[in-house]
Symmetry: C2
Subunit: 249 residues, 2 copies
């Protein structure tokens, strides 16, 4: 089967670094799903606004595969995707191997990702002299900006929800979050007129999810992460992220 | 992106008729996921037994598309798949149109299906003189026998479960089931040694899900459904399925 791209995802994750490892209900990250011309058909979304959640089926790009460097088998190339029977999930510190079908790793035979997101808004815009644009605004997606979307399905709780499912190796770390400390920030470095509560909330969320590649625990190390046109420079001490600096990229 | 078949599903649904419309937790239907030689690598499943539920990404075949005849737009061919912006979901009686992305219809741009299933067993068999076989036994799949599988992922409750999701047009009918009445059955017609409690439970479940194509309400009409080597002949009176006859196919 050959897949056609029906839409592209657009959000602040222009940098592979910082993309949450799974979609999460509580994520405030907004993503626009922008349909390709062939699929810019408002009728195809009729009734979708009555669903609170959607499934996105999407493609791991070469760039997004780099986010998974920590779990990449060492005998595999750094770019491009090739499948590997075992991978090293970042959740397990990057030093234990699991079967690829027991993980959500990109290094799978068919590199399709699956994410449930909250539907925020259906946006139909009439553009004068051009074909109308058609977008879905969703929250909670764990996608890189520019990710190709192959399918959108309604979430059906009676079929898709298993509240008590056993999460295997992911169980122990599912609620591991970091506290985010903004007190050490040089506020003077931020052009205040562009810095909104929303962007701060989004960046706080991303940092709380521990965006460090694999498991690293060097409190001396400064990390850089770009999001939404901002570069965040931070260190991690124990379970606390200390934001040092924010710059406009 | 071009997808490779990693496995095939095998179960009693040799007939397009009777396949449940969605995967359901309570379904007793067992399905074997049999890996293709290239992917018959036991290591690729390491750790999977610690997950209670899995996702299957699979392909709607031409045959399975026939199950959706009721929702097929009348200007589309009966076999083969082509996408349509709107479809008529069987749940809505087959006479209301919904946008294809608001449904799980097969008539989508990329005909990939998504089902959550319960993992029952990982089966690694050494076959003398041949490559070992590798299978997953799962329950609850809404798949036709022979369905190609493109991906298997662990179900992560903290990311995938939204117990209170709003189910749009599917909400009203999500618990609509029929009562199954075996009292009118000619028992003499069944070779008893092959007729197990398990098969009866499976067939009862399928009938309770109302396998009639679209919404039909003619109590005179006799329906035939094949499952697991059996042909079931039944009528439906109101909310009751009356099994008339069971034959070996």
């Amino acid at each position: 089967m050959t897949l056609k791209v029906i839409a592209y995802a657009h959000n602040g994750h222009t940098d592979k670094f910082g993309i949450p490892r799974q979609s999460r209900e509580e994520s405030p990250i907004l993503t626009r799903i922008v349909f390709e011309p062939e699929f810019r058909v408002a009728e195809a979304l009729r009734g979708i606004e009555h669903f609170s959640h959607l499934w996105l089926l999407w493609g791991f790009s070469e760039l997004s595969s780099l986010t998974a460097n920590a779990e990449r088998p060492q005998d595999k190339p750094a770019v491009g995707l090739s499948w590997s029977p075992t991978v090293r999930p970042p959740r397990l510190g990057g030093n234990k191997r699991m079967g690829v079908f027991a993980t959500r790793s990109p290094f799978r035979p068919n590199p399709i990702g699956l994410s449930s997101v909250r539907l925020v808004k259906v946006q139909r815009k009439k553009v004068q002299g051009a074909k109308s644009s058609l977008e879905l605004i969703v929250s909670g997606a764990d996608l890189l900006d520019g990710t190709p979307i192959y399918d959108i399905k309604p979430y059906l709780s009676f079929s898709d929800s298993h509240e008590d499912a056993q999460n295997g190796f992911a169980e122990d770390t599912k609620n591991r979050t970091l506290e985010v400390d903004w007190n050490g920030l040089e506020v003077a470095s931020i052009p205040a007129r562009h810095w909104t509560d929303a962007i701060r909330r989004e960046i706080s969320y991303i940092l709380s999810q521990d965006p460090r590649p694999g498991y690293q625990d060097d409190p001396e190390r400064e990390y850089k992460m770009d999001y939404g046109g901002w570069r965040i420079i931070f260190v991690v001490e124990g379970a606390r992220v200390i934001v040092k600096k924010v710059e406009k990229v």
